[in-house]
């Protein structure tokens, strides 16, 4: 065992010397490789954590949302639908929700306006998400003016800000009383945006949804499981797009590595010949080449991964912000909770380190089985 370790250390010595001999090339290769690992790892870590976090948070969202559809579009739902639903087995609670969007032309941002509380909430008070507060430079006690459907300006006083911690779901929220909401958007009493049903037993959800579409044929029930599934697929899709974009650079790198490794220069061939002539076995030469691949790829993997971890979980994935942000003005500031597991690391390792090692060893194998007397000729 000790003998084996000593041998490997000698081989590493040799490998490092020969890498250092081509210092510029080796460092360049390492830099490119590290960057690629960094990108791949950042995407994986980021989407995985976001998916996980979304899943956990939205676990608390309502089991069923009933939307009324009219001519293929979402329409206001009359309050008497609540009565029409009547008593469905398994439904614990049902309520109408009032919410909508408000486009603020001054900061060019979309707000999500939701209603909260009972009718005794003061008409002129609102609670806003930290995203809005940041964009508008507002704080508790300040006033925010919204333009109503009919063109009147309504002034609201900010009574509170939503918690920082929940910014991922609440950055663009603006909470007001239902009465103010109806007045702002000229929505008559007796209409809601949608209905929310809570179902205790998850196995009954599908049955309830089925009955709903019979009872109210002009509605569409949206189930929580579907929502979570949507999120899974949205992030998978965005991750996929990023991977496809990265694929180009990955391929370029693979070609580069293959070319570098397979196009053994005369100098390298000669070097292998010398090694064999002075008493190295074919296996020793291959072990040495294995270490050469290992030194580069292991270093690149570890540095790339560590940088990606810092980028995603300490720097809030600032490089991805433009991609995720798209055209939105309001963007939540959040620090993702790291979800890293062994499997994820193993997958990353498998896809970044192994191909390179294989690409370096195979062509060497062809040369190193040749007779070593070539050096004498």
């Amino acid at each position: 065992m000790l003998l084996f370790l000593r041998k490997q250390k000698y081989l590493i010595d040799y490998t490092l010397s020969s890498l250092l001999r081509r210092k510029g090339k080796s460092l360049g290769l390492l830099a490119v490789y590290t960057t690629i690992v960094f990108m791949l790892a950042s995407v994986t870590l980021f989407t995985h954590a976001l998916r996980k976090e979304a899943g956990l948070m939205l676990q608390a969202s309502p089991e069923i949302i009933v939307q009324r559809m009219q001519a293929g579009r979402h329409a206001m739902i009359p309050a008497d639908y609540l009565q029409r639903i009547g008593r469905l087995r398994g439904v614990m609670q049902k309520a109408g929700r009032l919410w909508g969007y408000y486009y603020d032309p001054i900061v060019k941002a979309n707000y999500t306006i939701m209603t909260e509380g009972q009718s005794d909430t003061p008409l002129t008070e609102i609670v806003i998400g930290t995203g809005i507060a940041r964009v508008q430079g507002l704080d508790v006690g300040d006033y925010l003016t919204l333009r109503s459907q009919s063109g009147e300006a309504f002034s609201f006083q900010i009574s509170a800000l939503l918690e920082n911690d929940s910014e991922l779901v609440s950055a663009d929220l603006l909470l007001m009383s239902p009465k103010a909401f109806r007045r702002l958007f000229s929505i008559p009493e007796g209409f809601y945006t949608d209905l929310v049903l809570s179902v205790r037993n998850p196995r009954e959800v599908n049955k309830v949804a089925e009955k709903l579409s019979q009872l109210l044929p002009d509605t569409r029930p949206i189930l929580r499981d579907e929502v979570l599934r949507t999120y899974e697929s949205v992030f998978s899709w965005r991750q996929g797009i990023l991977f496809v974009l990265l694929l180009g650079s990955v391929l370029a790198f693979v070609i580069f590595a293959w070319d570098k490794a397979s196009g053994l220069s005369a100098e390298e061939r000669r070097e292998i010949g010398i090694l064999k002539a002075v008493g190295w076995e074919t296996a020793d030469v291959m072990r040495m080449k294995f270490w050469e691949g290992m030194v580069i790829s292991l270093t690149a993997f570890l540095i790339g991964y560590l940088a990606a971890y810092g980028h995603v979980f300490f720097a809030s994935a600032s490089l991805f912000e433009p991609v995720l942000k798209g055209w939105s003005v309001l963007y939540p500031q959040f620090r993702l909770t790291p979800y890293v597991d062994g499997l994820q690391l193993a997958t990353l390792f498998f896809f970044s380190v192994l191909p390179y090692i294989v690409a370096t060893i195979i062509p060497i194998w062809r040369t190193s089985i040749a007779d070593p007397d070539a050096v004498m000729r």
């Binding site: 003998l3 084996f4 000593r6 041998k7 250390k9 000698y10 081989l11 010595d13 040799y14 010397s17 020969s18 250092l20 001999r21 000669r270 070097e271 010398i274 090694l275 064999k276 002539a277 002075v278 008493g279 190295w280 076995e281 074919t282 020793d284 007779d371 070593p372 007397d373 050096v375 004498m376 000729r377």
Partner: protein, 227 residues
């Protein structure tokens, strides 16, 4: 260790249009603790013969015996093992590896043996000391002159303490003064109980008093064997 060759033939590219018979049947023996020189023009087959004795290549037919062991039929693995422990090589173009220090170059043949590092370094430094290279041990190999490189090559050939030293045209890249010095070193090596096989077409070598025996080759056969 006695080296015996029996009816050795070597054909390159057998069966192809460019088939070439490098050795056409050579039988001879080399006694231990002597300096033998194979002379001949290029293409005479002397290097091929030497590479077969040194287990760098295998004869197409015939038999090579090293002491009691027949080495011409050994598989690659064992061949390497024999080569590693029995032979030290000095090549015409030194074949030192750039980018490595002098010390690393000398230690190179011992890497696969996995000796303790300190022990190996000590052995290498001792050899360098012996050949007046101690002060250059940590220099890159590229900094050395031709004569120094040659001495490093000798150190490298000796690091595994081989019984037989094989040198292919060792003086081809040296001027006559350095060639003379080299032959003195060879004399010392014989004194320490080693067998030395040289090839050369340099009179400085085969006419040297250090050489005990001169074998002349041409077109793959032995023309003369003196000594």
């Amino acid at each position: 260790m006695l080296i015996q060759l029996k009816d050795i033939k070597k054909v390159y590219n057998q069966g192809k249009p460019n088939e070439f018979q490098a050795i056409r049947g050579v039988s001879m023996a080399f006694e231990p603790n002597r300096v033998s020189c194979i002379k001949g023009s290029s293409g005479s087959g002397k290097t091929t013969l030497l590479s077969m004795i040194g287990c760098l290549s295998r004869p197409t037919s015939g038999r090579i015996q090293l002491g009691e062991q027949v080495i011409s039929s050994l598989p690659e693995r064992f061949l390497t093992d024999v080569r590693r422990h029995t032979f030290g090589f000095i090549f015409q173009r030194f074949n030192l590896i750039p980018g490595l220090s002098v010390l690393e170059n000398v230690m190179l043949p011992a890497y696969p043996l996995g000796l303790p590092y300190k022990k190996l370094v000590d052995a290498a430094r001792r050899l360098l000391q012996q050949f007046n290279l101690a002060s250059k041990a940590d220099n890159p190999i590229e900094w050395l002159s031709g004569g120094e490189s040659q001495r490093v090559a000798i150190c490298r050939a000796l690091i595994n303490d081989p019984k037989i030293l094989i040198a292919d045209e060792p003086t081809a890249n040296l001027d006559s003064k350095l060639s003379n010095e080299f032959m003195q070193l060879i004399a010392e090596l014989r004194q320490s109980g080693r067998t030395v096989l040289l090839t050369s077409h340099d009179p400085e070598v085969f006419d040297s008093t250090v050489v005990d025996r001169v074998v002349e080759m041409r077109d793959g056969v032995v023309l003369a064997d003196v000594g």
